[in-house]
């Protein structure tokens, strides 16, 4: 049963925060009192989401390695540290989806760059913030958004599926290695949602059969709340 966890004062960075699941997360987390920053590529969309949610917008592309340190600097500066990182930005490669045999090399590169290398680089750049957060018992959770395509071999989803499988496995290794530092790593599969990304992948899907991103966001927030140290869920005890 969904609860309504309080995220008062928690510092959260969401990538891909202007549409789909990312936007729903930015909205839900700000509504729960979190201090949220988000990243997206298009300045006008970032400006609009910042205005409507009150979250801090960062224009950047997690698929560009030269953007990563700049994003980390802005996020850590604006939030005065980071407790929770949600690597949500995702790429299908190229659309329409194609058989692996027909997939352009550049499409595979794009999926791996945005879905694997981007989260790897950004996590590394913010690991100091996350470990400090853990030492201060504030939280320290990294969520990498996964997919059932990471596990099942769906024809034409090769670039996306391979990248999500790599991300899921990397998440598991991060979790093993950083457990002693107190930083939790979670894979979260939100299911098939009515989002712009899904519409690109499956243009003729009936939206009525798809999960609303707001529903998935609420589910993820419950998962994060369960991973936080108990104290953080009662801010008075943790910070009072």
């Amino acid at each position: 049963m969904p609860s309504n966890p309080n995220f008062d004062g928690l510092r959260v960075l969401v990538t891909g925060g202007t549409s789909g699941l990312g936007l729903a997360l930015v909205q839900a987390l700000t509504a729960r009192g979190a201090n949220v920053a988000f990243v997206a590529r298009t300045a006008s969309s970032v400006e609009r989401t910042a205005r409507t949610t009150g979250a801090h917008g960062i224009v950047g592309d997690v698929g560009r390695k030269e953007d990563i340190d700049r994003i980390a600097l802005q996020a850590s500066g604006m939030l005065a540290g980071v407790d929770i990182l949600i690597n949500n930005a995702s790429s299908l490669g190229f659309v329409p989806l194609s058989l692996l045999a027909d997939t352009q090399n550049e499409a595979m590169e794009k999926a791996l760059t945005v879905n694997v290398l981007g989260p790897f680089r950004l996590t590394k750049a913010l690991l100091g913030d996350l470990a400090s957060s853990a030492r201060e018992l504030r939280g320290a959770v990294v969520v990498n958004i996964s997919s059932d395509a990471a596990i099942n071999a769906y024809p034409t989803w090769g670039a996306y599926g391979a990248s999500k499988a790599a991300l899921k496995h990397m998440t598991a290794i991060w979790a093993e290695e950083m457990a002693a530092e107190g930083v939790r790593f979670l894979s979260f599969d939100p299911g098939d949602m009515d989002t712009p990304l899904h519409a690109l992948a499956v243009p003729d899907a009936d939206p009525a059969t798809l999960k609303r991103p707001e529903t998935a966001a609420a589910e993820l927030i419950d998962v994060i709340a369960a991973a936080l140290p108990k104290r953080v869920r009662t801010p008075v005890e943790a910070f009072g």
């Binding site: 910042a50 801090h56 917008g57 960062i58 224009v59 340190d69 700049r70 600097l73 802005q74 850590s76 500066g77 604006m78 005065a80 540290g81 980071v82 750049a125 690991l127 100091g128 913030d129 470990a131 400090s132 030492r135 201060e136 018992l137 290695e177 002693a180 530092e181």
Partner: protein
């Protein structure tokens, strides 16, 4: 000694000066084994800002380089203390940099996408307080886009942010890298943990190390704000109550901890401001050993080490740096100095601190273990 002229990670050397002046060489990989279970390593987790901003002084059209150098309110990017140079860049030695145009309050500056106003001059032609226009968000974006790490002539290639960020870097509040922390990696932290050595962090807004101007350098370091988490204060208290040693990673940690302890000799969690210099006669209450970069005699970092070791030991350390080609400056090798005893050595219980095979030399417990590994002959 060789000036380290480019960033390099992972390898490197550590010269260890023990409390009795004993000097030994280790590879940096051995950092993990230099401390005892129950000791606590404290590091500065400040992330380094790209604090060098080039631009124009609008009233004169003169080219300037603004180096952000101090917070008005820590973490609030709307206003700063800054040191300003005239035209030129880091490849010119700081001492040889051209002065900036004369500043007056109200002067406007254009620094890439940022615009700022000179709020006041601070008693020196190169030192101003400035305020940026716009929201904190747009200022962070502007600094991130346009700023470069402050760097000096001994490193000619432009530094990237990742070069000046320690692996543990968190909040961006340092103007120059808390460089002793560049020698840390996650593997070392894990090794400390499995060895029973604690690890804690504070956040200290490390300031700039040099302005090239003798009168202004006299005023360094500027007041530096710091923040000590409750978990760190607790860990320090627990370590001290159990007789463990506090090891500071870098001079900024010494400054913060000793400033925090001035009141009653205890570390209290919270925010504070470190003022003044650590001088050779400053009483050190908290820190038992310091890991520092290798610096030359006369540099402020080296002078701070005089608080920990006597001149004789430091002279011998300096000679060892020369003899063994230690790399100096922020990307170079490291030196670990244990605080010399404040009491005459005769007052220590020799039974507790000597190894018979060392023929009466007094060495501390750390080095008993290290010695026993290096020279099996002294094992009991």
């Amino acid at each position: 000694m060789i000036a380290a002229d480019h960033p390099r990670r992972g390898d490197g050397k550590v010269l260890v000066v023990s409390a009795d002046g004993d000097i030994r060489h280790f590879s940096r990989a051995r950092l993990a084994t230099l401390f005892e279970p129950g000791d606590l390593v404290v590091a500065n987790d400040a992330r380094t800002l790209p604090a060098s901003l080039t631009g124009t002084h609008l009233p004169t059209g003169a080219a300037i380089e603004v180096r952000l150098a101090g917070w008005i309110r820590m973490g609030d990017p709307r206003s700063f203390i800054a040191v300003v140079f005239g035209a030129g860049d880091h490849r010119v030695r700081t001492e040889d940099r051209l002065p900036p145009p004369p500043f007056s309050p109200g002067d406007r500056l254009v620094l890439g996408p940022l615009t700022a106003i000179v709020e006041s001059t601070l008693g020196h032609p190169r030192l101003i307080a400035l305020s940026f226009d716009g929201s904190a968000e747009s200022i962070w974006a502007g600094i991130a886009q346009h700023g470069r790490p402050i760097q000096y002539a001994h490193v000619s290639e432009p530094l990237a942010l990742s070069d000046v960020w320690t692996k543990i870097a968190a909040r961006p509040v340092a103007f120059e890298a808390p460089s002793a922390g560049l020698s840390l990696d996650w593997r070392t932290l894990a090794a400390w943990r499995s060895h029973g050595v604690g690890f804690a962090t504070l956040t200290h807004a490390a300031g700039i190390s040099s302005t090239g101007d003798p009168a202004l350098d006299e005023r360094l370091p500027f007041d530096e704000p710091y923040s000590i988490p409750k978990a760190t204060a607790t860990a320090i208290a627990r370590t001290r109550s159990r007789g463990g040693k506090i090891i500071a990673i870098g001079t900024t940690v010494v400054r913060a901890l000793e400033a925090a302890a001035t009141l009653d000799g205890k570390i209290h969690a919270g925010d504070g401001i470190a003022t003044g210099r650590i001088e050779p006669d400053t009483e050190i209450k908290i820190v038992g050993a310091i890991l520092s970069g290798v610096h030359q005699r006369g540099e402020s970092h080296f002078e701070l080490l005089r608080t920990f070791a006597d001149d004789f030991s430091l002279d011998r350390a300096a000679a060892e740096f020369e003899l063994h080609d230690y790399r100096s400056h922020e990307f170079g090798d490291s030196v670990l100095i244990e605080r010399r005893p404040r009491l005459p050595k005769l007052l220590y219980n020799p039974d507790d601190r000597t190894i018979p095979a060392m023929a009466g030399r007094i060495i501390t417990t750390e080095f008993r273990r290290i010695n026993s590994r290096r020279a099996p002959a002294v094992q009991k």
